[in-house]
Symmetry: C2
Subunit: 156 residues, 2 copies
DNA sequence: TTAATTCCGACTATTTTAGTCAAGTATTAT
DNA sequence: ATAATACTTGACTAAAATAGTCGGAATTAA
């Protein structure tokens, strides 16, 4: 479980999807405009999100992505692990052969901690994140033709 | 809060310190031998750990590092943040000026999540990590002169 | 058909991670 | 005092991950 800005990008994009996907698919260029994430980078992320069946895609005009499940059933842990491909490189394996052929002590300790984090993040869903702050969110995007800037307003 | 192998190195080293520091300071070369982490890399990490007052150093022969506080009062969050210098680059700040001069919605959402993680990891101390698995740990190091390999044994 | 959109692969730049190396400083056993 | 030990510091390098770019496909609504 690696926790970097990459994961935040993915969570942010999925949150955007959850808040704007009223049945209709949302295009990546819309998300790119709203969240300020490069379109091509979003493509990379969503390629992985689709592989993990977290989103569905619709091609062609009017197409885009939509959540594969309801926001309450998609956890932050799933999203982060989808894009980070969890390179769980335990360095202790290659070092000294700990006795009994088992891995060394700290490996277990870290694995334990890692599981706790996974459990914790697995319990935070997109739905919870949205609901946590009772937000009157106005996250509308101006008509593209108008050339206006993104409008995002949040009232606590 | 960034969570990578770098943080695990630091936590591992601090755990080693907690388990071998019987009053006397522990040298980095000992930790390097036991945990298979490069000595110079450990020096970098401990330089930051010392700056954050998580460890004390004793110079000269027989010197080394020891925990600045008892294991129960040193949290995983502190250790990780000490070595990761928490580059909390929120990308939304530079994008579009969200209305009211406030930051955009997802920033708050992520900040919220980030705080929860910090809270969670802040509650896990070195002491708790060691106690979690009731371990009969034999983590002795052979005499240096003998040239023998590190002996690490853990019985569940 | 045309335009909008996802898909796909290769490519690049920047940053971080991980590690090395060398020269230095402080401490203390002898 | 002196030498050994061990920390301290800074510069350097290599590999990997992150972040982003580009060009071109395939698909499909209009």
């Amino acid at each position: 479980m690696r926790l970097t800005t990459k994961g935040r990008y993915a969570v942010t994009a999925m949150l955007d999807l959850a808040m704007h996907g009223d049945g209709a698919p949302v295009s990546l260029s819309d998300i790119s405009d709203r969240q300020g994430i490069s379109l091509s980078y979003l493509e990379q992320l969503f390629s992985k999100l689709r592989q993990r069946s977290l989103v569905n895609s619709v091609r062609g005009p009017g197409g885009g992505y939509s959540l594969a499940r309801i926001p309450d059933s998609i956890s932050v842990a799933e999203i982060i692990e989808a894009v980070n491909e969890s390179v769980d490189a335990t360095n202790c394996a290659g070092v000294g052969d700990c006795q009994n052929g088992e891995m060394c002590l700290t490996h277990y300790l870290w694995e334990d901690l890692s599981n706790q984090i996974r459990l914790f993040l697995g319990d935070i869903s997109l739905g919870k994140l949205i609901a946590r702050r009772d937000i009157t969110s106005i996250c509308e995007r101006q008509d593209t033709a108008s050339g206006n800037r993104v409008t995002v307003q949040a009232t606590t």
